[in-house]
Amino acid sequence: MQDRTSAPQEIALRVDGRKRRPDSARLRRLNILVGVLSLPLFVGLWELASRSGAVNMVLFPPPTVVAAAVLEWIRSGQFLGDLLASLFRVTTGFIVGGALGILLGILTGQFPVISSLLSPLFHILRPIPPIAFVPIVILWFGLSEAGKLFLVVWGVFFTVWLSTHIGVQKVDRGLIRAALMLGTPRRQMLQEIVLLGALPYIVVGLRTAVSISFYTLVAAELAGTFAGIVYRIEIAQQNMQTGQVMGGLAALGLISFIADRLFAALAERTVWWR
């Protein structure tokens, strides 16, 4: 009786295992292969399409032309200057906006009076796209660097403020009660329990703010400047150097990709207990 019921099951399991495992391994290997070939495939198609004569090569240059433009950009020494100018704006704006956002987020999240005072204002200002502030920033700051920073700070601040505010309010009440029962004073409660409890939210806000700082960088540099990656793209466009335009776009994409990855790695280390 017992034998009859258990034996077929065992066989079924073994057959199942033998069939499925090699299959899924092969599938995984195929996926990796396709993933590795993906970019070369599309670059190759792009090269063929550009050179086929079906499109205007000046407007749609092949990757080889784009690569040549990028090499020239680097060799001329302009690339380094542009890169540093853009990176300076993004990092300074990110740090200032992020620090302000965290500070005010903790204040409004923790103290209802401060929240009543500031949250209505912030909620009205927050949905206005930062790019819409370009005209008034030009009026206020002219073409100065302060105006560029203002735009990036503005974009970063609201995202970080909101996520910090929500994070502080969502700190596990149970943790706070436990800390209270252990005699945690107010100051330590804020530093140790509330700040760390809100950290996962703060980090998510900061990560979103990384890409926002690049959006606002574009607006800031289009608003008029003398160096920067987006500035170079604009100049190239005015000179019909489409290869250079595309090279600039690729550089911008690469930098913001690296920034996001670096931040993700950092974030994972910061909230390791998650």
Binding site: D172, G174, L175, R177, A178, A179, L180, M181, L182, G183, T184, P185, Q188, E192, I193, L196, W273
Partner: protein
């Protein structure tokens, strides 16, 4: 070595002499406690004129159906909730908020996820001005006592539910509280782990001899652990009956099959059944 020394110290905190001197003064006095919650739908009387005393070193269990106000009573003794009416004295002084001589263990361990086991337990002593070294020494003694030496540097998310709750108990004991409040601390654990935890707690208590108020909805758990069981009824929360548990100590959960235990349990069940019937008839009539 140092572990056993400080256990002795803990035990001395409520040695027989202090029991004698406190015969005039209970560890906890709850008199005429009522608690009312305001909500959009109006007022709910969660606890209705509850009175009881707990003697120093006594282990009291409060049993009752969920929603009858057990947690509310405990939170009020802890100073986390404010009474609507009535008084609470701990060691003779009124409760105005959380205080160092009252420790609490909740149904969820609520360990600080970013702190190791040692630093979780050391948190209380640190907050009371002990140096890092002293606080860690206290923590290490307690870690030895709860049998988690191997996990001293582990983080809470790597521990099982039972281990986490043991850490929570150790963390509450690190401040050497005179009174330990426990709100269904084993309620979220599976049956096997829970039985082990009950035995652990019995053993622990025989060593530290702190006054304990333990809330549960499980009558077996209450009788196994307690010197005295307070049976509560729901809507609004009141104390129906006090049952003294005169079973010999040291105890373990294996007493649950012995005749004296069973007759005690029958007494408790009779009280609860009568109350259930009364409540049922009442709701039927209305």
């Amino acid at each position: 070595m140092s572990g056993s020394r400080s256990i002795v110290k803990l035990a001395l905190a409520s040695s027989p002499t202090s029991v004698d001197s406190a015969r005039k003064q209970p560890a906890i006095q709850v008199s005429n406690l009522s608690i009312v919650f305001e909500s959009r739908r109006g007022q709910t009387i969660a606890v209705d004129r509850v009175s009881f005393d707990v003697a120093p070193g006594e282990f009291v269990c409060i049993v009752g159906p969920s929603g009858c106000g057990k947690s509310t009573v405990l939170n009020t003794i802890a100073g986390l909730e404010v009474p609507f009416e009535g008084d609470i004295l701990v060691e003779g002084s009124p409760v105005h908020g959380p205080r160092p001589d009252v420790g609490m263990v909740f149904q969820q361990p609520h360990l600080f996820p970013w702190k190791s086991v040692r630093r979780n337990i050391a948190h209380g002593p640190r907050m009371h001005g002990k140096s890092k070294t002293d606080a860690n020494a206290v923590a290490d003694d307690l870690i030895a006592m709860i049998g988690l030496k191997r996990f001293a540097d582990a983080y809470p998310n790597t521990l099982s539910g039972g281990m986490q709750q043991r850490v929570a108990i150790a963390r509450a004991l690190a401040n050497q509280p005179r009174v330990l409040l426990m709100d269904e601390p084993f309620g979220a654990l599976d049956a096997q782990t829970r039985a082990v935890m009950q035995d652990n707690l019995l053993e622990l208590r025989d060593r530290i001899n702190t006054t304990i108020v333990f809330v549960t909805h499980d009558i077996d758990e209450a009788i196994v652990l307690a010197d005295r069981v307070l049976i509560m009824s729901a809507g609004p929360g009141r104390i129906l009956r006090e049952v003294a548990v005169k079973l010999p100590r040291p105890r373990s959960s294996s007493i649950m099959v012995e005749p004296p235990y069973l007759s005690l349990k029958k007494d408790c069940l009779d009280v609860i059944r009568a109350e259930g019937l009364r409540a049922f008839n009442q709701s039927d009539a209305s």
